[in-house]
């Protein structure tokens, strides 16, 4: 959405740095949102449990948050941060967003038939984005 597609989403999906100190900060942020996990799973993000899950879905008072340590086709945060951009999204917030090229890479790696249109759309977003950069 932020990068220019017209998807509908009701969750905030993110790839965090998996350093223990950062996971502690993430946990603090989630606690401040009154976050909880489904079933009997504890919210605690430490102890290596998070890395073992492809997607950890967390409910909160402000909507769902999906934590994806290593999105398909990537090597996680350190891979994505290189091309990520901080975008102003309003309310004084500038947030790091994966590049359109990396988003295409993730969708392509998932190899899901349902994503074909999404991938095509994102490829066009990449083209338009490059056109804007080149002043076309």
């Amino acid at each position: 959405v932020i990068e220019g597609s017209y998807e509908l989403t009701r969750s905030v999906d993110l790839t965090p740095s998996m350093r223990p100190e950062n996971l502690r900060r993430l946990e603090d942020a989630l606690l401040s949102l009154n976050a909880r996990r489904g079933g009997a799973k504890p919210l605690s993000l430490e102890g290596g449990d998070l890395a073992a899950e492809p997607v950890a879905a967390v409910g909160s008072d402000y909507g769902e948050i999906k934590i994806v340590p290593t999105p398909a086709g990537t090597r996680g945060y350190d891979d994505l941060r290189r091309a990520a951009r901080r975008e102003p999204v309003g309310q004084g917030l500038r947030v790091p967003v994966a590049s359109p090229g990396d988003l295409v890479r993730m969708l392509s790696a998932l190899d899901r038939e349902d994503d074909a249109l999404k991938i095509e759309t994102m490829r066009r977003v990449v083209e338009l984005d490059r056109g804007v950069e080149l002043g076309l």
Binding site: V1, I2, E3, G4, S5, Y6, E7, L8, T9, R10, S11, V12, D13, L14, T15, P16, S17, N22, R25, L26, D28, A29, L30, S32, L33, D61, Y62, G63, E64, K66, V68, T74, Y77, D79, L80, R82, A83, A84, E87, P88, V89, G90, Q91, L93, V95, P96, V97, A98, G101, D102, L103, R105, M106, L107, T121, M122, R124, L128, D129, V132
Partner: protein, 166 residues
């Protein structure tokens, strides 16, 4: 022989040590965003078990070209990728290059929509999403600003992916 060497190198040499195999040249840190990360991974893997000079010799390119790939100054071009494919270097590194022409039907409505969105700022795009979601934000069932503000307040290091980013 080359394949064996590359496979062995990519399997056994950790990324942190691979840099030492590259004549001291930096690989991708500080990339300027020219190449996609997939291209950078290809270059890393290609150079994992070979020096820049060895790789240049195998693909019959000047060593300076390898330096430019690694520095993210240029991406390997299609003809180079095809050359790597012919020499079986691409598959040895765990990549393939399916290339085919497929029918393309332009959808003027979708194209116009994408171009309109592209002219908006990220702020306008997110506001547009929330408008399309209707009353969810009013009911406080989905408030991405609150979630993002909490992440920023706690100085969490992260990258947005998936739905909201796409």
């Amino acid at each position: 022989m080359v394949e064996r060497k590359l496979q062995s190198a990519t399997r056994l040499v950790p990324a942190s040590e691979r840099r030492l195999l590259n004549d001291g040249a930096s690989l991708t840190e500080g990339a300027r965003g020219c190449g996609a990360a997939g291209d950078r991974r290809l270059v890393e893997r290609l150079t994992a078990g070979l020096s820049q000079a060895e790789l240049a010799e195998r693909v019959r390119l000047p060593r300076q070209q390898i330096v430019r790939w690694e520095g993210d100054v240029v991406e390997p071009g299609l003809s180079t990728l095809r050359r790597l494919l012919r020499r079986r270097l691409l598959r040895a590194c765990g990549f393939d290059l399916p290339l085919s022409l497929v029918p393309y039907k332009p959808d003027p409505e979708r194209e116009a929509q994408l171009e309109r969105i592209q002219r908006q700022t990220p702020q306008e795009r997110l506001a547009g999403l929330l408008e399309r979601l209707g009353g969810l934000m009013a009911e406080r069932r989905f408030d991405p600003y609150a979630i993002l503000a909490a992440l920023e307040r706690e100085r969490v290091t992260y990258v947005l992916i998936g739905g909201l980013a796409v």
